[in-house]
């Protein structure tokens, strides 16, 4: 173990400024040592840029059709080719970034709030709260998760908002369990007892003492499930749920191109699929990298 790694023993609970400096040092070390994480971070920035500025930078209107250029293979004019009604795939893939990322981020934020808080409460209070949260998580886990998401979207209605909700619900058990375990081991910690002794109420302790301390682990969890959230949302839209054509979105674009694969027009489905894959890949690698920074012992 190198000195830089040994340094991070205290990072689990960042209580001092020293620990923050050590984390930053270790982060720099991790990225330098592991170029793959660096690459993932580069991809992440690229995705964010596409999401933020994509619609203003693309060469064509993602919705404009041009039948004279229909089904054109990739060329200098159309980097990723065009689809059956002559829309530019490159522009559509770039513009779609914002929607795909918004769905994933919204669902992860939602489940972070719901699952995280429920889990912390369950771990901190124990008793019936723990029972209820545990039962709820078990019941969700009793279904194959994608199937449950389909059922939820079918029941709530076929909209993008409901895709976000369904994706959040199926991730609930993961967040609740991690938060519960982390809160549980801290409920009798010294700093919690000190806070209680100075007259803080339970809710206050939960929010000001427990929550900040389990934040790093929850952030890793978010990054790790982000890829899964993107996959899940794209899968739902691939089978025709949520996003409706002609809206550019990676899952539905793959579905639109699927019929052309058998006749050899591969680019319609390939590029949106590739974008999807890179996005998921990026978040999975990033999650692994972040986990190495936050929790060096669980290194894979």
């Amino acid at each position: 173990m190198s000195p830089a790694e040994a340094n991070t023993g205290a990072v689990g609970a960042p209580e001092s400024a020293n620990a923050l400096a050590a984390t930053l040092r270790h982060a720099r070390y991790t990225f330098a040592e592991n170029p793959v994480s660096g690459f993932a971070f580069f991809l992440f920035v690229l995705l964010l840029l596409c999401a933020a500025f994509g619609p203003y930078l693309v060469p064509y209107d993602p919705l404009a059709s041009d039948t004279s250029a229909a089904l054109a293979p990739p060329s200098l004019h159309h980097l990723f080719g065009t689809d059956q009604i002559g829309r530019d795939i490159f522009s559509r893939v770039i513009v779609a970034t914002r929607l795909d990322m918004s769905i994933a981020i919204a669902s992860v934020a939602l489940v972070f709030a719901l699952g995280g808080l429920a889990g912390i409460a369950a771990g901190f209070f124990g008793g019936w709260v723990d029972q209820v949260v545990g039962r709820l998580a078990d019941t969700i886990m009793a279904f194959p998760l994608f199937v449950l998401a389909m059922g939820i979207v079918a029941a709530l209605g076929n909209t993008v908002t409901n895709i976000v909700i369904a994706t959040a619900i199926i991730n609930f058990p993961l967040y609740a369990r991690v938060a519960r375990a982390e809160a549980n081991i801290r409920r009798e910690a010294g700093f919690v007892q000190a806070a209680r002794l100075t007259g803080n109420g339970d809710i206050r302790i939960l929010l000001t003492q427990i929550l900040p301390n389990i934040m790093p682990i929850m952030v890793v969890q978010m990054s790790l499930t982000m890829g899964y959230a993107i996959l899940n949302a794209a899968g739902l839209s691939f089978i025709g749920l949520g996003v409706r054509p002609p809206t550019p979105e990676w899952g539905i674009m793959v579905a639109e191109g699927a019929g052309f694969i058998v006749s050899g027009d591969w680019w319609i489905a390939f590029f949106p699929g590739l974008a999807l894959m890179l996005a998921v890949f990026c978040f999975n690698l990033l999650g692994d990298g972040l986990r190495d920074i936050v929790d060096p012992q669980r290194r894979s």
Binding site: F146, A149, A155, I239, G240, I261, W266, N284
Partner: protein, 337 residues
Amino acid sequence: MPTQIAKRLATAIPTLIGVVIVTFLLTRVLPGDTAVYFAGPAATPQAIEEVRKNLGLDKPLPAQFADYVKGLASGNLGQSLSTGQPVLSDIRTRLPASAELTLSGLLLAILIAVPLGIVAAVRQGSWIDHACRIVATAGVSLPVFFSGLLLVYVFYYKLDWAPPPLGRLDVFHSAPHYVTGFYLIDSLLAGNLDTFRAALAQLALPAVTLAVFALAPITRMTRASMLAALASDFVRTARANGLSFYTVIVTYAFRNAMLPVVTTLGMVFSFLLGANVLVEKVFAWPGIGSYAVDALIKSDYAPVQGFVLVMGILYVLLNFLIDLLYGIIDPRVRIEG
């Protein structure tokens, strides 16, 4: 063993009840008014009231739940509007297609992933170990519908090795006589090798697609638990006593390493059953997944609810079987039970 089975069964029952409650709730939150939906677009207010009464929607929620459970007990999952058939019989005729696909995919994945994981752990740091890492990361990042389409493009369009991705058998073959519902087994039982080959050709690509998807978690888990087993005291002792390489790896390390792998199978099944839906859509596979997707697109909700319920029950049963398997592999669980 029987007491252990009974004990485990008792813990599966609350889960099953949970599954039924969730599917019931999903039927109650249908977009809009369920009665209006079933009465059709041209219904008068009286007709809607009539439908409401017939469906029992005017009763309080617990009474509706009782009706729902009563219906389930007699195998009534409602009627599909698009096929005109009872949902249960639709699902029953399509289930073997899905089961054959999922199980072939899983089997293929295990056959590749377990040896790969073992070799990666035994030769840690070698090129096989790195290949294993790449497979594991790429496998979880690849959307299953995308990898399926890539395989179709390469093996059907480019190389022309695979038949068109359209269902379980091409038009030149008829389905073998129904015994198990698995075309591969039924055609062999009928002694019809030609049909067997045709069915295998159709199954190959979708099964490989699923296998690629399932490879990642199984490889990762096999490697990790093999590493843990190889570093343990009992393996060191076995080595120190001069047992052969093969005995140490297979009998000592592998058997113990299998336990966490079997546990992950539950999670793998959860992923597989979901991925199955997407693969069925890509390959026009006539299973319950594509049935549910078709119904969903036509806003025909009874089949979707039936599908979610059947999948939920199947998954609970699968987890139950996995636990039993765990007991067979690990005698300690048996003794405690």
